[in-house]
Amino acid sequence: MATTTATITLDSADLLSDNLSLSATMNLNQGGTTATGLEQFRMERMVIPTGTQFDLIEATTAASEDANYMYIVNKNTDVTDYVIISIKDEVIGRLYAGDWMFFPWDADVVALDGNDSAVEAQAYTHDATLEYCLFHNGETRPTSDDS
């Protein structure tokens, strides 16, 4: 089994009247296990044009109702550029240039009002360069059309 850790550090010397220094580390484990690490991941860098909402990661039956973790970073540098990240067409938030997010993901393929749990992204202001890494417990592969 693999051991993968995710650590966040939140720091500020001047946001509050005292220093802010918060750190948390977690192991990326499979759901329903004490400490069995996730063994699969997918990493990609892409450029998405403005004007259209795309599925960044499609929902998949194999990973549904399990532990999956998603990291996304907007690699643009113009501070006015942002990407809206949504699930089931529900906007989570805006990822501005340089921003990253990390969250557990329920890869539910069961439609809710016609939407599955695909992670969706739409770029605003300029095309967006995104990098993501999905840590998961399996994906349902599409059958080849060429066989």
Binding site: A24, E90, D99
Partner: protein, 141 residues
Amino acid sequence: MATTTATITLSSSDLGDNALSISNSATLYTAGTDTGITETTGLARKKFATNSNTILLDHGLPGGVAQDVTANKSAKVYIKNINDRGDGTKFVNILLAEVEIGRLYGGDWMFIPWSGGSGKDIEFTAYDTTETTLEYAVFYE
């Protein structure tokens, strides 16, 4: 203006054939600017013992922090499930406006941007009625 940074490190020596090491640091700015965010809830802790859907950050609370977070502003939310992982069968579902984002098992954390607005509450539903503790912080403008 304040300078607040959020840094993530993802690492593994055995997930793939080569070591995985991802690190990124973001300064928390107000929307579309390079001016630092100046408001925060600070770190908060909430205990609960219910498996009913519960609002963690209530946009509809008059004068509440969440009411300041709107779609065209910049806000970030940190949430951690403080419980022990145990056998890994217990978790807290995190939802946005009743749409499930994912499961936070004991010890897990998340950090996301948040576009608030009417009905855009951040909610949770625990696996069962075992006492669960969440810590959270909102950084906003």
